[in-house]
Structure formats: C-alpha cells, structure tokens
C-alpha cells in the first residue's frame, strides 16, 4: 500500500492534466478541475508524506519500480524524507498558486492552455523530486522547463518574449550540459539508477569502475542545477523571467522550481556521490570526494548570489523586480549551508547544514510565493506594481498589507516566523563552521550572510515604506481588492506564522530529510539495485 502511494502524486497530476485537456470546452469546469487537481495533489503528497515518513510506524522511505522492473533496469521512484519534504513544498505552493490563478488570471487567457501548462509544470517538478534515475531526472527537468518557457513568454510584449528567449537559450545550454553529465556518468559507472551509481561509486574496485571523471561530470550537472536554482553566475534569466511570467506562475518558479535545482544538488552530490572517495583534496574542506569539490564552488556561488541578488534588489522600480532579485539572494541563503555541509566532515554540521538549507527553502517557498501573489493582488486591485505609482496601500488594503508585511518580515528573519528559523539555522551552520574549523572560510561566510541579511532589510523596507505607507496615490485610491485573493494570501501568511510557532515537527521533518540525504547506504538498500555484478 505504502509502495503504491509513492507514485500517487505523479498519477494525480497526470490524471489532472488529461482531465483538464478534456474539459477545454467547459472553462468553468476546467477552472474548478484545476483547483481540484491542486487539492488532490496536496492530499496525495500529504498521504505519501504521512504514510512513508511522518507516521509513527512509517518506514521512512519507500521505492516504487515503474513498470515493475527491478532497479537498475527500470526507472525507480523514491520517496524518502528529502523528497517528501520537497513535495510538500511543491504541494503548498502549487495549490495556492492554482487557486490564485483562477482568481487572478484573465478568464479568456486562462482558456489558452493555462491550467494544463500549470499542471505540466507541477508534473515536471514532481517527477524531478520523485525519480531515482539520472536520465529520468533530465526528462522531468525538460517537462518542467518547457512548461515554464511558455509562461515566461505568455503575454504579448517585447520584454516578455525577449526574456523568454534568453531563458530558453540558457536552459538549452543547461540541458545539453546535463546530458553530457548523465551520459558520461553512464559510461563511467555503467548505470543510470542513482542508487546503483552511488553503490558503484562507493566501491569502484568491486564494480570495475574508474570514478575519476565523475567529479568533472558532476560539475557539469552542477551547472544545470545551478541554472534551475538561479545561483550566480547562472542567475541571469531570473529577473526577466520572473517579471514576465504571470505572477502566480512566478510564484511557482520562485517557490518550487528554484528548489528543484537545490534538491538535485543535494540528491546527486550527497546521496549519489556521498560515498565516493575520488576527488580533490582542498584546504578547509573535509575529505577528498566530489563533495570536497562541491563545497568551495557552492559556497562561492551562494555568497555571490546573496550579494548580487541583494544589491540588485535594493533599488528596483517595481515590486516584482525587487522580489525577483531577492529570489537570487534568497537561494544563496539555501546554497551556503549546503556548501557548508559539503565542506564539513560527516557528522552533525553536515546534517545541520542540510537541515538549515531545507528549512530555509521551506521558508522561501512560503514567503516568496506569498509576496508574488500579493503583488498580483495589488496589481489586480490597482493595475500597477510600480513603486512610484503606489502609496498608502496599508490603509487601503489592511489585510493584504498585513500579509505582505508578514512575508517581508519572514524574509528578514523576524521570529517567530518561518524565515527566522531558516535564517537562524543558516547562521548557526556558519557559526559552527567558524567555531569548529580553522581558516577564514567561516568568517567570510558569516560576513556575507550578515551583509545579505542587512540587504534584505533594505529592500523589504523600501517596498514597504514606498508603497504601503505614504500618501495614497490615485491608483491606490481607486483600488478594489478581491477578498478571495486576499484569502489565499492569508492562508499562506497563516502557514508562515504556523510553521514558525509549531516549528518542532517541521524541524524534525527537515532533520529527517537531511538524514535521508546523507543516508547513502539506506538509499541504496531501499532501491536495492540488483544485477550489475551478477547479471
């Protein structure tokens, strides 16, 4: 039963997509079906997460062999705490964005495959989180990407298509690089199944594998994952794409697809390559493995993201642009603890780093979509989100403003909101690094984190003082806020507060996810790739 549930999120989206296509001629029904599909997805994810990971007697992880072929011959789906955590993020954001889409996007535009493509985006994300196969990961990436390409160029207008084109070209490059990586890893290890690769990389001699090229090959995949995550220097597409896509989709892009990139980094580097012993030996980094290659790279990328995104966000003309740059910075906050985890020897700091990254990812997946959706609500109420045209929103739309304020504060890291725990755990990981390992790395990371955090205050307060305070502008004066939209925002805001207040189970979940990412052997045993040596 548990095993059958593993595929449930996937099957739900698939069914939803087909149903939505079938309901094209009944737009009203289609809209409801889209929301229903999102709800069903959330329920499916909830069921999987509960029965596989969270329930008292849960097994902790479960594998599903698509088509009934044993690993490594078929494609394996795996739900462990890590994937369940990410799926939960996808479900939360997906459902709210789906509901918001129905309320926000112009009815006529919704009929142009909007909902179908939205669920296709969700499909790609789900596949990427579930799959236990490297090539299959590539495939679901492509599904996710293709659906997002069109959303970037959804509306007419030169800047939309220009942004869409840039996004497309960069990601085509990324896909080619991922193919290089996956193909090379197949040639090197003789398998595509992640568990099988992991097993072979950990004992190359036993399987006749020469693991040496794997570090460089994994680096190529890192580029692709970095592109998805929008980490500097692969962030170029982010501001344009976020600005151009319909805002509910931007919420998805910022809330979920970015995390797919980070998830892939964690999964591939920690679970798949965690046991490999080939790699550079770098000062200040523990061990000699692909992880020791990842550590300095990811730290540099994360810090650069924090600074570039933070500085870029400080003075922007519109709320959505500010938020777009902010997303670059925020993913830096997710990347840094992962880099710290990679730099640390196996043990508590490694676990803490991953848990911190996951909590931060969760926070960003709640706060940033809320902010983007709130921006959408502002836009549908006032017709603009230019700071210059806004002012006095706080008095005009108090609930909406409160939600926006709350999410901003979460971004800043004010307790007891979710973002506080994210920020604290990230700081904590850096502080631990500073305390436990010699060298300037810890100090550099801490300073960068602090600088990034201060930059966050700069741009959040700028948006707030410029558009929610101040004289009411004509646009705001005539604004008509849709209470249903506000309700969606309020739900997310409650989630931000709720997760912060009842943080304990979330932290345990994140910890379990970090354990799952690090439990390489458990993963291999779960998938139990047969064959190979005896086939």
């Amino acid at each position: 039963m548990t095993d059958q549930l593993v595929a449930a999120p996937m099957l739900v989206v698939l069914t939803t997509i087909v149903a939505l296509l079938g309901l094209r001629r009944w737009p009203r029904v289609q809209r409801s079906a889209s929301v229903g599909g999102g709800l069903a997805y959330a329920l499916a994810v909830g069921a999987v997460a509960w029965s596989v990971v969270l329930a008292p007697d849960a097994p902790g992880a479960a594998a599903y062999q698509v088509g009934g072929w044993v690993a490594p011959f078929g494609v394996t789906l795996v739900v462990d705490a890590l994937s369940a955590f990410m799926l939960a993020i996808a479900a939360a954001v997906g459902l709210s964005a789906a509901v918001f889409s129905v309320l926000y996007v112009d009815r006529a535009n919704q009929r142009v495959f909007y909902h179908v493509l939205f669920h296709c985006l969700l499909l790609g994300v789900t596949g990427a989180f579930l799959t236990g196969d490297l090539f299959n990961l590539f495939v679901w990436f492509e599904v996710m990407l293709l659906a997002s390409y069109v959303f970037v160029a959804f509306y007419g207008g030169p800047e939309h298509t220009a942004a869409g084109f840039r996004y497309l070209v960069l990601n085509v490059v990324g896909s080619a690089l991922l193919l290089l990586s996956v193909g090379g890893l197949y040639a090197v290890t003789g398998t595509l199944n992640m568990a099988d690769v992991s097993r072979r990389m950990a004992a190359p001699g036993a399987y006749g594998v020469d693991p040496a090229p794997a570090v460089g090959l994994a680096a190529l995949a890192l580029v692709t994952f970095g592109l998805k995550a929008g980490l500097v220097p692969f962030q170029f597409w982010v501001p344009g794409a976020y600005r151009s896509a319909p805002l509910p989709v931007t919420a998805m892009l910022a809330g979920v697809t970015k995390k797919v990139g980070m998830y892939a980094i964690v999964r591939v580097y920690f679970t798949v390559f965690g046991g490999a012993t080939v790699g550079p030996s770098i000062a200040g980094v523990a061990g000699s493995s692909p992880l020791s290659f990842l550590a300095p790279v990811l730290l540099a990328m994360g810090i650069a993201s924090i600074l570039v995104g933070g500085v870029g966000a400080v003075v922007r003309d519109t709320i959505e642009e500010t938020l777009a740059y902010s997303s670059v910075a925020q993913i830096g906050f997710v990347a840094v603890p992962v880099g710290l985890a990679a730099a640390a020897p196996p043990g508590s700091l490694r676990r803490l780093g991953l848990a911190a990254a996951l909590v931060y990812a969760l926070h960003h997946a709640l706060a940033k979509p809320l902010l983007f959706l709130a921006t959408a609500a502002i836009r549908s109420a006032t017709g603009t989100n230019r700071l210059a045209d806004l002012g006095g929103l706080g008095g005009r739309a108090p609930v909406l403003s409160a939600c926006f304020f709350l999410a901003s504060l979460s971004l800043v890291g004010i307790p007891p909101l979710t973002g506080f725990f994210g920020k604290f755990l990230v700081f904590d990981a850096a502080a631990r690094r500073f305390a436990t390992a010699p060298g300037p790395l810890g100090a550099i990371v801490l300073i960068a984190l602090l600088a990034g955090a201060v930059l966050t205050i700069l741009y959040t307060t700028r948006i707030w003082t410029a558009s929610f305070w101040g004289e009411r502008t004509p646009a705001v004066e005539d604004a008509g806020v849709d209470p249903r939209q506000t309700a969606v925002l309020a739900a997310l805001a409650l989630a931000i507060v709720g997760v912060g207040i009842w943080f304990d189970p979330v932290f345990e979940f994140a910890g379990a996810a970090a354990d799952a990412a690090l439990d390489r052997e458990g993963y291999v045993d779960l998938v139990a790739p047969t064959g190979g040596e005896d086939a």
Partner: protein, 149 residues
C-alpha cells in the same frame, strides 16, 4: 509536384502504419510513425496549401479569412493529441487495475490462428499508439498554426 504528392501521401501513410505496427520488433514505433504521418500531411500542406486538407480531403469548406484555430482540421489535431495523451496515461494507469505498478506492460502470444499461426498481442502497443496519436496531433497542430502565419 501536386501529382507526386497525391501518389506519395497515401504511400507514406501506409509506410507509417507499417512502422507503427512493427515497432516492437523492427525499427519503427509510435514516434517515428507519428512523424512520418505528419510528413505525409505536411506534403499535402506544401503541395496544396493550408486549406486543402479541410476543403479537398475532408470535404469541408473553409471560410476565407477565418482564424487558424477555427479550422476543423486543427481542432481534430488537438483532439488527436489529447486522445493520445489520454491513451498513454490510461495504458499506464491500466496496470494499476491488475495490481501492477504504473506503466507495467505485458504481452500474450495467441496461438493457432489461421494463416497467422500465432499473434503477439503486446500492451506496449497501446502505449505506442498513444505516442503515435500525441505525435501526430502535436506536430500537425504546430505545423498548421505556424504555417498559417
């Protein structure tokens, strides 16, 4: 050109179907067959123009100046790809009914049939058929929409 197209189009279709059916055992399969089918229709488009498929082949008149989305053929293409997607997904889900994992395939060899002696019935063919329909619908949609520009 037009005459050649007239001769070639059905032949290509026959070849495409042949490739679809033999895909499991010989080169071919849903994708190739689908593209080849599209190629046949593309030949019609190239030789006769966009409206000919509606007017000349399907025998429906096209009002001049109507948007491409109102073409009956375009609607049909979209239906085809939706149908294909439904078939592919349904064939995958079908396995669940037999308590097998998603996308499980099976085959039976039916023996002692006159003339054919034995026939292999593979469930994968349903999946391949889904692929075929998707590809045909998708490509023709793209072609007709882009071609209409």
């Amino acid at each position: 050109m037009k005459t050649t197209a007239r001769i070639m189009v059905p032949i290509i279709l026959v070849l495409a179907i042949s490739l679809l059916l033999q895909g499991h055992n010989l080169p071919g399969g849903g994708f190739i067959a689908g593209v080849l089918t599209t190629v046949a229709f593309a030949l019609v488009y190239v030789a006769y123009g966009l409206d000919y498929l509606d007017a000349g082949v399907l025998g429906r008149d096209v009002e001049p100046g109507r948007g491409i989305f109102e073409h009956r053929s375009v609607t049909a293409f979209r239906r085809t790809f939706i149908l294909g997607l439904a078939i592919a997904v349904a064939s995958g889900l079908g396995a669940l009914a037999f308590d097998e994992p998603f996308l499980s395939q099976t085959f039976v060899i039916v023996e002692s049939i006159p003339i054919y002696h034995e026939i292999e019935v593979a469930s994968a063919l349903a999946f391949d058929l889904g692929v075929y329909c998707v590809v045909v619908g998708v490509l023709l949609t793209i072609l007709s929409v882009v071609g209409a520009e």
